[in-house]
Amino acid sequence: MRLLRALGSFALGLALVASGFAVAAFLLGLMRGEVDARRSVAAAIGVVVLVAIVRFARFERVLGGYAGLMYVFLYAPILVVIVYSFNGGRNVAVFESFSLTWYEQALDSEQIRSAVGRSLQIALASALVATILGTAAALSLGRLRPVVRLPFDVLVFLTLVVPELVLAISALIFFVNTGFELGTTTMFLGHTIFNASLVMLIVRARFVSMGSTLEEASFDLGAGPLGTFRQVTLPRLLPAVLAGGLLSFVFSFDDVVISNFTSGAGNQTWPLYILSALKFGLRPDLNATATMMFAVTLVALVLVGLILRGFGRKTGEASVGAGTIAG
């Protein structure tokens, strides 16, 4: 019964979007002066359906169907890639038979293996360094006076707001002219600019909301600054610190733009391998490669989820995870 209701909502959402699309297509055609019979009929039906939906359907159900449609839009393409990674045929767009050939081929490729190794190394180093820098900065900035904090805030905000492309090209110019050899090192440094700011924001949000009462108590009981940090502050901050670190890992692991500019010749990371392979068209083994990459990211995300959830349960705070990531 519930399933039937959900399907009904979904159909409503579909009808809404389809008729909206028909009307929009008609109006666009009208603006360009191309009116044909097909479009006009479709638009007329669309208007009728829209009116009927607004008049008779319950708002909640239409909206639910619309939301469901959006989830399909978000996930269908990813699922297609995953399903097609098991496709035995050579044709990339027609599913023929189930097979693991492309996985074998991808895992056998020396090029892919070295790209994966490079990606993992860079992501690990970047996550580690960004976590340490970001957490230290968050501790300091979380309790500073606004006047002192402002320049730091502006800097952090800028690293997050400036288009990644600009970050990448200025890093490239800088590296080339200060004796850096483009490669894993430069990619690591490039990723860490963004990641350190990200960790800073996540940890600081948690740190500020924690308040300082427990730390003051710890001081009054005679624990020094280091003891207080180790025994009181860090344990309570740990979920945010770990979440920040894992998100940094994910961002660095998936990064295309900064890597593309600062990799130099022959230092492909995993995403760069996919990007360069795509220049010669889609190949079936890319789906297998992509699915494996997707899996690594997903494992990291599940870890974040588990950490935040465990923490949320312990302290009884609902939706810590969502709040942490959504800012």
Partner: protein, 367 residues
Amino acid sequence: MCLASMKVEAAVEPEGARVAGERGRGGLILEIALAALALVLCVGALVAIGELGLGLWGAALVVLAVAAVFVGLRWLSVVVRGSDTRPTYPLQLALPSLAFHTAFFVIPLGFLVVFAFGERVGFGGVAYTFNLGNFSDALDRLYIDAFLRTLRFAFVGTVLTVLFGYPLAYWIVRYASPRRKNLFLLLIIVPFLTSQLIRSYSFLIVLSDSFYLSEWLQKIGITQGDLGVLFTGTSVQIGIVYGYLPLLVLPVYASLERMDWTLVDAAGDLGAKGLTAFREITLRLTMPGLITGVLLVFIPMMGEYVIPLVLGGGNIDLIGNVIQRSFLEQRDYPFGAAMALLVMSALSLLIVVYLFVATRTEEQFGQ
């Protein structure tokens, strides 16, 4: 910048110093001077990583050593001066990150500006001059067209993500069962954090003429003949909307979640139902979240070059592609830098105008 902020701290600190009693002005100045010196040295060390040729983990160690320097500095001041009686985390802890961002963000931006005025020499070389030629080259009709095209793609993309994303967030907050709310939110976050590249290239399959979608659409009679949208503006536009949808939903969700829904009920009791209540209350109260979301998707859309590269098949040239090519293919750094600066200035101007208009309407709403 750091020095300025340290001075500010110096200006506000004496009050606390008197309370502590043993912290003289001279000691404080010495401490600040020491921190500033360390900062300069550390930035130097970071920039020198390149010359040293340390490799990935060597570079990571140097960065961590920078952090250690400042922790050591703090420890020194505690030893000299005695520990604080209240839990404070000193400014020194923000300095490693400041050194890092100075070395690899602020200084590179400086390089970008200097290069924009430079002159190209050979392949990838530059002569440091004051030359406005790059800017006049960049203002060519061809590139202005590319910029306007990018603006159109970003504008349509932003409008569509709002149309798709706002109702979605609204549904999760208002109608999803409370137990499943976090799950639905998580389902938005996961695509946002998975590889943008894979998510864009998935449309190479989905929109392909030989895929089932094309077949089905023909069968129901929506299209005649093959779908034929791959490697056109349409596929790029779809890819852009798809890529940035989650980024819009998250801030809108946050602002809807924080909203006080009893206000809507109150409005209903007073006669404002449905659309009126939505326009007068919900939209007004979630405007900040919507503005954030729009900026979060619009800015990166203006710099996007990967999606047109993958889904445009070389037919769609956005301004990001022009910049990317001038750096990675033509190696004309000064031209690319000038172009990037122009785009950045135009973008900032747009954002300022947008924020002005958006906050003004918000204020009007608020009366």
